[in-house]
Structures are given as structure tokens and as C-alpha cells.
Amino acid sequence: MFSLLMLNKPLRAAMLLLVMNSGHVSANSAFDTFQLHGFVNQGYFISSSNNVYGKSSSNNGSLGLTEVGINASIRPFSQLGLAVQGIYRKAGALNNEAQIDFALLDWTFYNTGNTQAGVRLGRIKNPIGFYNETRDIAFTRTTILLPQGIYYERLRNLYLSADGAQLYFNQSTNIGDFNLKISAGKPLDDIKELEVAFFSFDAPGTLKPKDAYLSKLEYESTSGATRIALSYVDLNLQYDKSTHDVFDAGDISVNLFILSAQKSIGKFTLTGEHLWQESNLSNFGVLPDSKLLSRSYFLQGDYLLPHNLQMSLRYDVSYLNKDDKDGDLYSALTGRPKHAAYTKDMMIGLRWAPNNQWMISTEYHRINGSSSLSYADNPDTNTSKKDWDLFALQLSYRF
């Protein structure tokens, strides 16, 4: 209610200003700032066992990843921007939906060139790590699959965007640009993946996101060769119990901290991110109050080859519980295999972008562990394999 009112006021003010100013600022010049962009992405996956985006472990593999997006933006006044993006996404049995990815009003209330400060209202992308804000666009994620320990595919909806407000502040200095974003909002609802991720089974009630507070501070050198970011997220979920439930109406609070760093030297770029995550489960009744400390990190090297080719190498590790890296405790408590408590992924990839519009990417993963697998595509965890290979191919277009 509060956020709706906040949204409506500037919108109404903007409409009013637009009408009042129509004589002064011609409609033509406002429309001149209108921009339309979009993307289409099709992936193909084949794995030795375990499913990624559909039945990738079948003989023919899976064409289970299709992403289509279109966005429009306009700046009716230099201080005011409006932007909206719609996405259709089919991702195996996990997603098959069209949704509003962002729809926001951006008011830059202070701008001196060197300094900008402003507020965004509406549905806003969540600033988490280097890649979350543009995670669905093939051109902005460095590989077909983002490192799953940090950018969990299975919890995508929860991470994607939130309805609320964001304050931002940019400062450019002699050594580069500093950018701070602070968001508060309600994350998008997720499917039952959430419950499986936290309880290791599809609980009778529903786990719903309550609120999220996010902040990200990023530094980028003027040339762009050095980037450092710190992200902090405080996410709260609530369990709505069903009439005959094993659990009480409990709460889950997730706090995560990500350190991201990137350095480019000539044709070589090194990128690393480290995640520290603490999840607290409380008031679930039969389930004792518990704290889970998860860890994940990756290190990726990209090398630019002639003819717009790029080669990538990455090692990505994630542990659901840093004090139970082998999954002994996890297996004893849940009855699921030990390897569902961790993932170690070695990847080699090659991409070719002949121009700004088109890109073909391919990558091979050698994976040990199964914690990143989605429940939707792998309903029987006991048949999942510990060691597996994945090959992916992707064709992407944007305008």
C-alpha cells in the first residue's frame, strides 16, 4: 500500500509535468529518447547423467532453454526515466512463463556530471554480484551457465527482481567510478524449488518471500580494466503452513555477502567471486532452529582470440554447509545422497560473436556433486549421479 502510493505520486507528478510542459518541451523531443531493445536465446544441453534444463541426459539432449525479452525506455525529462522489460522463459521443467522483469521509474534528483544521486521505484532488478541484474541476457553473462554456487538457477525468481524502491549514488573520480545501490522490496514468488532447497523435500505448506534488503558497492576503473564489488543481501521468507502440516509457521532468514573482483590485462581477463551465506531457520516446530553456513567461489579466466573468438576456463565450487563439505551429516539427516551437498564444476568454453547482434557459445563441464540440480528436472534425487559431464551449445541474438 505504502509502496503503491509512493509509486503513484511521482507517476502522477510526471504525467502532470508532461502535460504542463507540452508547449515548452515538444512531444517530439521526448519521444526522441524512446529506445527499444530485445534478445532471443536458445540453448541445447546434453549430459552423461543428471538433468539440466529438461531431459539433457536423454540420448538426444534437451533444447530446454529458451529466453525472449523485449524492453522499452524513455526519458521524458533529463531527470526522469521510465523503463519496462518483459521476459518469456522456458527452462526445462523449472520455468515456463512470461513475466515483467522490471518496470520502473527512475528519478535522478541530483546530477553534476561527476555525481548522480537518484531513486528508482517499481519492479527493480536485484543488485547481487557482477551478473545478477542482467542474468537472463546471454551477452552479459560470461558463459551459458552462470556459476551455480552464487547464481543458483533453481532460486532464480527469488533473486531476479523485487517490487520496491532503490536509492543510488554514482561518483566519478580521477581513479574511476564508484556506484552504490541500496534496495528494499518484496522479491518475486518462487515455485516449490524454494522448499526443496531449504527442507530437501516439497513441504505441504508454501514458503513465501517476505522482504529483501540489498546493497551493492561497486568500483570500476576509468578504463574498465579493474572492477571490485561488494554485495550484501538480507532476505526473509515465511512459511505458510497447510491444515495438516508437519511444520509450524516458521521463518527463514538468509544473509549473504559477495566479494567480486575482475582484472583485465591486454586480451586476458580474470574474474573471481566469493560468497558467504548464512541461513537461519526458526519456529518450524519439529524442525529444530538451525543455522546453515554456505560457501561458494569461482575463478574464471577469459582470453580473447582473433576473429572475435573468446576462450574461457572456470573452476566453481559450492558447499551447502561449510562444516559438512562431504555431505555426511546432510545425508544422515535427509536420506539423500552425500553428493547433493556440494558441487565442483570445471568448465571450458568457447564463444564467437561475429558482431554486436549475434553470438554462438559452447561449453563443456566436468562436474563432481549434484547440489546445483533442480528438483523440477530431477525429481528423484536418489538416482542422481555424483560425477557427470555436461555439454552446452547456445545461439543468441539481440538488438
Partner: protein, 150 residues
């Protein structure tokens, strides 16, 4: 006779190389639409414009930013030498603006001649072109403003 001819050609080539050094061929000028009132920009101000941080000229006219393709040699040279940024930084910035709803991106044109034509016909436009192309195109047909970068 033949020796003479060869020598003449050789001399011409030498002369041409001196006149049109490769760096000259790719030296760029910042150009703007004829209605723009600004005649000089600091490097910082130029950056703010191409980084899409400022949206209007001092007189209130909206700024329209034009660039060439990421892989265009002149674009690479312009971003590195005039803006001090690698083309991948600009692309990353513009993509993040566009695909997270936090800003806009410049309009990408195919070639320098289009750049001169479109900027001379638009209001508040800014872009760049190589000196040789600008000198080669007839000033009567196209009317662009040259902006000094200090």
C-alpha cells in the same frame, strides 16, 4: 625513363605516407548537430556524455549519442584515446543500462558517412568521425559542428 617513373611513384607513395600517417587516417573529431551551442568539452564532460550519465546540453536540449560498432577500428580508437576506456567497458555499461532498466545506450550506426549525415540532420546529436572522412564529405551537404576536446 622507367626508372624515373618508378622513382616518381615511389616518391609519391613516400609523400602520401607522410601526409596520411596511419594515425591521421584514424584520427577522430568529435562532431555535433548544428543546433548545439557547446563548442568545447573537457575530457571528463565527454566521458559523462558517452557513459550516458548526462542527458542534456547546458541549454536544455536532450543529448543524442551516436557511436559506431564495437569492432569498428575508429570506435576502438575513439574510446581508448578520447575517453580512456576500453570498448568492452562501454558495452558493459550500455548493456547494463539497457537490460536492467537503469539507463539507456547510444544509437549504433553502420559507418562514418551515416554518422555525419544523421548528426547534421538531428537536434542535439553527438558522435565522432575521422578527419579524412569529414574533410572528404562536402561541407555544403552536411553541416556538423566540431567540438574541441580539452
Amino acid at each position: 625513363m622507367i626508372d624515373n617513373l618508378i622513382n616518381k611513384q615511389f616518391l609519391t607513395i613516400i609523400l602520401l605516407v607522410f601526409i596520411y600517417k596511419p594515425s591521421d587516417l584514424l584520427a577522430s573529431d568529435v562532431i555535433a548537430s548544428p543546433n548545439v551551442q557547446t563548442t568545447s568539452l573537457s575530457i571528463n564532460e565527454l566521458r559523462h556524455i558517452f557513459f550516458m550519465r548526462v542527458q542534456e546540453w547546458p541549454d536544455g536540449t536532450p543529448i543524442k549519442v551516436y557511436v559506431l560498432n564495437d569492432s569498428n577500428e575508429l570506435h576502438k580508437k575513439f574510446s581508448k584515446e578520447k575517453l580512456g576506456a576500453f570498448p568492452y567497458k562501454l558495452r558493459r555499461l550500455w548493456d547494463r543500462n539497457t537490460f536492467s532498466g537503469t539507463g539507456q545506450a547510444p544509437i549504433v550506426l553502420d559507418n562514418e558517412l551515416d554518422m555525419i549525415k544523421i548528426i547534421s540532420a538531428s537536434q542535439g546529436g553527438i558522435g565522432y568521425a575521422s578527419k579524412t572522412i569529414i574533410n572528404g564529405s562536402s561541407q555544403g551537404d552536411f553541416n556538423v559542428l566540431f567540438i574541441d576536446v580539452e
